[in-house]
């Protein structure tokens, strides 16, 4: 029996299309909403036919996406160690250099990524200087691979070289692990392509002093729950992509006692403490692997349209979905935002870095409503930030119960980008990100907002429908 007719209740109506019927619904006191209709897929007939195919298989896709959502929500993220990449990252060799975003040959890499790689080769002692480093690459001695293909992530250039220490974040529920480099702070840093001696020296200090101390401290604290820290930071004005002030402070609160309990010299303890304290972005390299370790659990679910990766290499933007291990790439957009004094749009490199894993996980730009302070940094208004957080629910499979946005009456953030919904609503995910200088070595020149190219999603849908 039809529930509506059985109920005898006045129908509640969704109107899709012409608005001429609305006044008659009002006249009959019928509760109704009007869909702001736009032809899906920007009216492209092929996309519409693909969406139709998906709609016909809705149940199986829905179940697959719910499975992905359930896993990602259930996943935990515990920081258990800080170790050299080569010792912990699967498939890493002493010649493997991981980079951000989808695969890309060295010749085609963006300026900042090239700069970072050259610096990392010198840092590893594989070359004495940058021009020697270039020669090493030309000899084919270096293997490049996306960090994402090794369960790792890195912000901006995202370079992880064999001896670099990485945060090891474990998910005890599904027994998987994710890795991320240590955030070097602002200014001249490798992730923005800077590669001078001071950059290399800092990396060496991180490797030789900072990482061992932090690893010792973690043995004292035991696993630190990064997922909980993200949730708390959202209550304190962070979105843990572009603003990590509160989260970094919370992390420091967790670790500080243990740092001072380690058996190293006091000046080293103080330097380790200061390094975290003085870097408001320290926590970014923890929120990223926390997101990664959760999203990795959804990889390999057939019939799912749930996006598990969004990442950029400074040339291309790439995504993956739960049901496909294939990258779907298109040229990366330029970030729209505010520039530091002395820089302008002419200086910017295209969108770069693995940090969009935070948005994929429902935080970052998706939780911007929680971080009103960020709008000054990226340009825009608080109302915009709130609108972004609300709008993202239209393109996601579900929501993140733990990640609540106080400004939105503690409503959960949107989680699980669904390629079908992106295409049918013409709404793209919003990403909240830094802007790198296009030339290697200059560093960050601004911050702002960016969207993935729609072509990533249309390609993903095409492949998905073929496999249906």
């Amino acid at each position: 029996m039809n529930k509506l007719i059985q109920s005898k209740q006045t129908p509640k109506v969704v109107n899709i299309g012409s608005s001429i019927f609305l006044k008659d619904l009002s006249a009959q006191h019928v509760e109704h909403v009007n869909v702001q209709y736009q032809p899906p897929g920007q009216g492209n007939e092929e996309l519409v036919s693909w969406l139709l195919r998906c709609s016909e298989k809705e149940e199986v896709i829905h179940n697959a996406n719910q499975e992905a959502l359930t896993r990602v929500l259930a996943a935990q993220a515990k920081l258990i160690a800080v170790m050299p990449a080569i010792q912990v990252i699967p498939g890493m060799t002493d010649r493997t250099f991981l980079h951000a975003g989808p695969p890309i040959p060295y010749e085609k890499m963006a300026g900042p990524m090239k700069g970072a790689i050259l610096g990392a080769i010198v840092f590893e002692g594989l070359a004495k200087n940058l021009s020697e480093a270039e020669a090493v690459i030309k000899q084919g001695l270096i293997t490049f691979a996306p960090a994402h293909e090794h369960h790792a992530v890195g912000p901006m250039a995202g370079i992880i070289s064999p001896s670099m220490p990485v945060h090891v974040v474990e998910n005890p529920i599904h027994k998987n692990t994710a890795y991320c480099s240590i955030n070097e702070g602002l200014g001249k840093v490798l992730r923005y392509g800077a590669n001078g001696p001071e950059v290399i020296n800092k990396l060496k200090w991180i490797r030789d002093t900072f990482a061992p101390v932090l690893n010792e401290a973690l043995k004292i604290t035991g696993p630190i729950d990064i997922k909980q820290l993200i949730a708390q930071a959202l209550q304190m004005g962070d979105e843990t992509h572009n603003r990590n002030k509160a989260a970094t402070a919370l992390f420091l609160k967790e670790i500080v006692r243990a740092i001072f309990l380690t058996k190293v010299e006091m000046d080293k303890k103080v330097m380790v403490f200061d390094f975290i304290k003085n870097n408001d972005h320290y926590f970014l390299n923890l929120s990223m692997p926390a997101a990664k370790v959760a999203l990795d659990t959804a990889q390999g679910i057939p019939h799912s349209t749930f996006v598990t990766i969004m990442a950029r290499n400074g040339v291309d933007f790439g995504i993956k979905t739960a049901s496909s291990n294939q990258w779907f790439t298109a040229p990366a957009n330029y970030v729209k935002g505010l520039y530091f004094t002395g820089y302008s749009e002419q200086d910017a490199a295209p969108d770069i870095g693995d940090s969009a894993i935070t948005e994929t996980y429902g935080i970052g730009g998706f939780a911007m409503g929680a971080a009103p302070a960020i709008v000054q940094f990226v340009g825009g208004t608080v109302a915009d930030a709130i609108r972004y957080s609300k709008t993202m629910h239209f393109i996601t499979v579900g929501q993140h119960q733990l990640m609540q946005i106080p400004n939105l009456d503690f409503s959960p953030s949107a989680l699980g980008i669904d390629i079908q919904k992106v295409i049918s609503t013409n709404i793209l995910p919003i990403i909240n990100t830094g802007i790198a200088h296009k030339e290697p070595g200059v560093g960050q020149v601004g911050a702002g907002l960016v969207e993935p190219p729609m072509a990533c999603f249309t390609q993903a849908l095409a492949a998905f429908v073929k496999g249906l």
Binding site: L4, P11, V13, V35, P39, L52
Partner: protein, 508 residues
Amino acid sequence: MNMYLRILVNEYYDSVTLMSLTASLKKQYSGDEIFLLMGTPMNVQLIKDIGFKDDRLGKISPNDCLIGIKTNQDKPEMIESLVKALKSGTQQTQATTNQMMSYPSTQAAAKAIHADVAMISVPGAYAALEAHQALNAGLNVMLFSDNVSVEDEIVLKKKAIEKNLLLMGPDCGTAIINGVGLAFANQIRQGPIGIVAASGTGLQEVTVLIDRFGGGISQAIGTGGRDLSEKVGGLMMLQGIDILNDDPDTKVITLISKPPASSVYEKILQKLKTVSKPVVIGFIDGKKPENSPYHHASTLAEAAYLSLKAMKLNPPIFEPLTDQQILDASAVKKENQFIRGLYCGGTLCSEAISIARKNLKGLYSNVSKKPEEHLDDVFHSKGHCFVDLGDDIFTNGRPHPMIEPTIRLERILQEAKDPQVGVLLLDFELGYGSHEDPTGTHLEALQSFKKQRPDVPIIAYVCGTEGDSQRLKNQEQKLKAIGVRLASSHAQAIRYAVAMIQGGYHRE
């Protein structure tokens, strides 16, 4: 000739809005040609064919709005005032919708108000997708859109049945669910008669007559015109019968359609064996079987009559002419003159042919299936002619005459010039969805017609109730005041017209 073009990138307006606006702007810009179109490949070709030139026309998406004007005046700023008119014309509806959160998808909108019905009127190419998404969100669907493939219709209806939901349509214009009129429906008293109908104006006519004589409606479920075809197999009519049979408020079940495919008729008869309630079968233009346990009607009025009678409401028979009408008709006899029926309601037009055919020869219509009745040139009448002006060929790019009367006004003035016109026959639909003053908009054209052809009687039927916002009596009064002859059912109107031509009333 100057041609000005503006392209509004990524600004979608629905076609009814654009067409209504074009119609209302025409008066203001008489002498100029105005184009408000969405950038579908067909429209882009149209704009190019007209002679508009713009490099950007090569990469227009259906989400872009094209505004063009072809004018003798040398005023490029005219295009700006058109853009303004479009924006202010659409602002009103936006203002009401902006009070609420706006939703980009059915799923999100449905969730927000716990909706149970989706009314879909998007272009046909996107309609099946929207209908699927609405069903997936657990909504009953009223699919107003046409140009949905029969394959999609079947898949959608099967899915709806599996989910215990209604899929009314495609091309479904009328339904009344739990007392609420959807799209083109009249304000009808609630009561014990449940209807499943494969026709919009047919459903309107039956419900209006039931209301007029004291009856009421439990539910009126539309199926879309193709439901009883061989291919679709009556999926929604069968589902509707089940729903009404299970509904304790429904005491009589009335089915309205053109005659179904014979295999579908069989299925319906099988289904009716499971029904314990009285059943009225109103398959217009169909044959009445003998020894049937059901009440068979061959006109809409008869279907209403039998439904009321099954409820023991003893209605008057509202088909035969009144004494006054008979007298009136006897006074004139038309030699070599013909009935010209200009219709807004498709089913009413079909019914007119079905009734007139029994009495007259030389019938033509754009909606008749009989080859000998085929009207070659739909833009020019011949013989006894019944034209459905809501047919695609007339409404392509223009609003349906029930919403905006221009198409019919032009045709009335055209008929006035034809010496063979003997009787002018018109239908008017009131109720939700229809124009707020359908008869009022016709007065000027009808007076002009009368002035040119004082000898030609005009007969009209107004399909509506006192409860409709246009008010039946008000609407009838406007016509009466200028000498239009009125009928109390559509069947009566057509019989009246036939009598006028024949110079008297002949019982069948």
